[in-house]
Symmetry: C2
Subunit: 359 residues, 2 copies
């Protein structure tokens, strides 16, 4: 590795580093989390005490009432992408920190509000913020984190373009969530059916925009030229689509012990995901369509039958292929840029680890 310790290195390695395996990712993510944690904590400390408690609860740092806790709350992929985005363009890791704080706060904000919209009562095995504190307070806490995220970026020397980068992602995030909510009311087949292309646009907005923003913001704060920033944004968006598709595959065939979600959960809820949308055009698609056309939620036997039909119709294979295609596109975009080798290898390790999740 060209960089080590929490400060990273702004100096390009003189020789190509040994490629990192996905196994190196946890260490890279930990280094980034440790670098970002003080700034993230300081930002949250500026909030109204009640709102700050909800933010810390959402981050797994306290229980309801404020008693300290240490619940695992995600790997911090977005904040790591912001730090690495600064380092791959030869900036110091610290340059990416305000961007890392911003994308992490936006991520938590979106989870708070999405859980309300989707009626999800659990988040990583604990009551969602709206269940623990009430809907109104959870709406308010999300708003506070949103404002704090913008503020983190507005205080940097590149405030204008950096804030625009963030608001573009925020706009797309809302757009993706709106489409996802509206998909629920649309038919599986016939006029008005959700197409695979629409699905991928939704996934790019809902999941890709913030991953792209993380990479782009980090590099922008480190002074990268517009062209580099744009390519990193695009790469992150493709990564996000791949990530969302992988999530959908896990939502049907994932091990509930590992995902923390019920088996075949997405099928039970009738969610319009890529494996199912792809399967509807495959062999046995008509039988699948008939099964899904019932307006009420499916029982256990019907859900198992639906999962088998989706697999037989090639939905799973098609989804995995599509996710791999987006990952390869992201890889290709990154390979074309003159990145600092050490951080670039770390970035590839993080992306491979994300991909390895299911693919």
């Amino acid at each position: 590795m060209a960089s080590s310790g929490s400060s990273g290195s702004a100096v390009p390695a003189t020789s190509a580093p040994a490629p990192l395996s996905p196994a190196a990712a946890p260490q890279v993510l930990r280094r980034c989390r440790e670098l970002v944690a003080p700034a993230l904590g300081e930002a949250i400390d500026t909030l109204h005490p009640w709102i700050a408690e909800m933010a810390r609860y959402a981050l797994g740092r306290c229980e309801v009432g404020g008693a300290p806790a240490d619940h695992s709350q995600g790997k911090g992929v977005r904040q790591a992408l912001a730090v690495l985005g600064a380092q791959v363009v030869a900036g110091p890791a610290e340059a990416g920190v305000p961007g890392a704080v911003a994308v992490e706060l936006v991520h938590v904000f979106s989870l708070l509000h999405d859980d309300i919209m989707d009626g999800d009562t659990l988040r990583r095995g604990r009551p969602a913020v709206w269940k623990a504190y009430g809907t109104g307070p959870a709406v308010l806490a999300g708003d506070a984190l949103f404002a704090l995220a913008v503020e983190a970026v507005a205080r940097t020397p590149h405030a204008g373009p950096a804030v625009r980068q963030l608001t573009r992602a925020l706009g797309d995030l809302v757009r993706g969530q709106a489409d996802d909510l509206l998909f629920a009311g649309r038919p599986w087949t016939g006029p008005g059916a959700v197409g695979a292309g629409e699905y991928e646009t939704m996934a790019e907005h809902k999941t890709g925009a913030l991953l792209g923003c993380a990479l782009a913001l980090g590099s922008r704060l480190a002074g990268a030229p517009d062209r580099t920033v744009t390519v990193l944004d695009r790469a992150g968006r493709h990564l996000g689509v791949a990530f969302q598709i992988a999530d959908d595959v896990l939502g049907i065939w994932g091990d509930p012990a590992a995902t923390g979600k019920p088996v075949h959960g997405d099928l039970r809820q009738g969610k319009k995901t890529l494996p199912v949308l792809a399967a509807l055009n495959g062999p046995g698609g008509a039988e699948l369509a008939e099964l899904l056309a019932v307006s009420h939620s499916l029982d256990d036997a019907a859900v198992r039958r639906a999962a088998a039909l989706v697999e037989r119709a090639g939905g799973r294979t098609a989804a995995v292929r599509e996710a791999r295609r987006h990952l390869a596109t992201a890889d290709g975009l990154l390979a074309d840029l003159p990145f600092v080798p050490g951080p670039a290898a770390e970035l590839r390790a993080v992306l491979s680890a994300l991909a390895d999740r299911t693919l």
Copy 2:
């Protein structure tokens, strides 16, 4: 008037203009609304169509489903303050427009989310957005307007300081709403009681921050120096406290036909407002405290009795006096600045009209 038409005037008047009466305010407000409307409409047009419909519904421009409508939805005080904020410092009215768009969007966003938090089902005689479209969609629409507001300001030449001005107001808005929600659970008297000072801080955050931001943003976008921007922000905050106190007086003694709210509504809900807080320390305060100490909501007779006790204990007089004091402070701050006379007179007309509401 030194300025006329929708473009206003950047040229200081050579002689002091005739003072405008509050009666001139509607015309000033209309001119500002007409100037801002195209930019506001264009901003909303960039949203997801479903979100854009909710935004237009909230602005009174359409019915549920999207059919055009023309419901009165407020006078547009905040957008007018942003336009006048640019003009009083000799900028063109147009310079304030992005700030006007931003504060108007933030105002609508905060109404959408506050109605969810407060459980208010009606807004200006129509179902609140969350009642008309559902809680989740209303949360999402608020988020979209929030992001759009930041974007409007981030696109201006003064993006860095202007966005920081806006995020400071957003942070205060959330802080004020948090305190307002928490006041509900606190006692009227004894340890933990809400003090008049705390109330005024809450009102400054909840209502004053955005009025101050409107004036400050307008002047900043017109290139005013930091000192002027800061004074305008402070003046707007005092105006906001006066405005909130006036609203509280109306919430107890206002004519339901004029306010659109039930008679004695705030007393019925047990809201901690300044007239009541002030009355608790006046003659008959103990009897009032006893009446309010019941945990369930008051019946009609008890509410009438409480209103009479608040008035007899001097709560109404004290509140009106305090509102006048804040207005005078705002006036004094503005009088010290070397403003362009015409727009300054228009600004005073708007402030007087706001104050005339009840005082």
